[in-house]
């Protein structure tokens, strides 16, 4: 089998995952796109393991490790998404902006120290 077929398929699958990560709003769908990208990498590892045939079988061993790490990642990621949903009431990554800098709040002169004693942090809306 030509090495080109699995390599091109893995590249295209990775780019589909990139599109999903950038374009989705729901955090769970974003995690699904990350899984697609990880699977593209797994396909690359398997194909190059079959091509190189090294004595350690590093490709297949690393694929198994990557699958395990991906399982741990999605478990932790979904736990974090559920926690965010419980505290914020939404799972949209566009609306979770408590740590972001709003353009109106950025001081015009950065040299002047902010004299606002109000506690910063979570924006209660």
């Amino acid at each position: 089998m030509h090495l080109l077929y699995p390599a091109v398929l893995a590249a295209l699958l990775f780019c589909v995952g990139v599109y999903g990560v950038l374009a989705r709003r729901n955090a769970v769908l974003l995690l699904m796109s990350v899984e697609l990208m990880l699977n593209a990498v797994n396909l690359n590892l398997i194909a190059f393991d079959a091509w190189l045939r090294d004595a350690l079988h590093a490709g297949q061993a690393l694929t198994l490790f990557a699958i395990t790490v991906a399982a741990a990642e999605i478990g932790l990621g979904l736990a974090i998404v559920l926690l965010v949903f419980r505290t914020r009431g939404t799972a949209d990554v566009d609306r979770i902006t408590a740590l972001g800098d709003r353009a109106a709040e950025v001081p015009a002169q950065p040299t002047e120290p902010a004299a606002d004693p109000a506690p910063k942090g979570q924006a209660v809306s």
Partner: protein, 202 residues
């Protein structure tokens, strides 16, 4: 000796095989690959959230078939067990617990989807050009037993034992971390910022 070295380096050489006479394995690989790619594209573009998870099942199952075609049988069944068995179920539970709407949700895609499409197309063009240029003449020699379970198990437990054990500790840590993150406090209802009102405020 030189002949042995040349024979050992055989699959690394440029192969005089063309793309116009594909073997049966290649035809099956391309067909399953098209199915995987289509399912992945539908999975990242559909507006029905549960359907996206179910199309992800199709994509990951097709990838398991691709692993089988690349003679990585153990990895293929691990893929079926872990991805199709547990990850997709976790994703479905996540969709359910975050109250994903059944049916079409108009705000599934964010506003910068055209920028995302441009980035993805540019990355795809770059990667495919690079890969085609680099591996145009490479040939995988899919011999029997190259990636069988016996070979994988022997190398895994002979050369990769320490990473394997470290990975089991990592899984345990991730499990404990997920439980710690997702448990709900100590019974006291704290006032929470956000749009959800707590039970006491109601």
């Amino acid at each position: 000796m030189t002949g042995f070295l040349l024979a050992a380096a055989g699959p690394l050489d440029a192969a005089p095989r063309g793309f116009l006479s594909p073997t049966g394995v290649e035809i099956v690989f391309v067909l399953v690959g098209l199915a995987v790619l289509g399912a992945a594209v539908v999975s990242v573009t559909t507006r029905q959230l549960v359907h996206a998870a179910l199309w992800l099942v199709v994509a990951l199952g097709g990838l398991a078939v691709e692993f089988l075609l690349l003679t990585a049988e153990f990895v293929a069944w691990v893929q079926v067990l872990i991805y199709l068995g547990s990850v997709v179920v976790l994703v479905l539970f996540g969709l359910m617990l975050t109250r994903a709407p059944i049916g079409r949700s108009p705000d599934a895609d964010s506003k910068n989807r055209w920028v995302a499409l441009g980035v993805a197309l540019a990355a795809a063009a770059t990667l495919v050009t690079l890969v085609v240029d680099a591996f145009r003449t490479s040939w995988i020699d899919l011999g029997a037993g190259g990636g069988s379970t016996a070979v994988t198990g022997a190398s895994l437990f002979r050369h990769w034992v320490l990473p394997f054990e470290a990975l089991s500790v990592l899984l345990l840590a991730a499990l404990v971390g997920a439980i710690v993150i997702s448990r709900t406090g100590s019974g006291k209802a704290k006032p929470r910022p956000g749009k959800l009102t707590t039970r006491q405020e109601r």
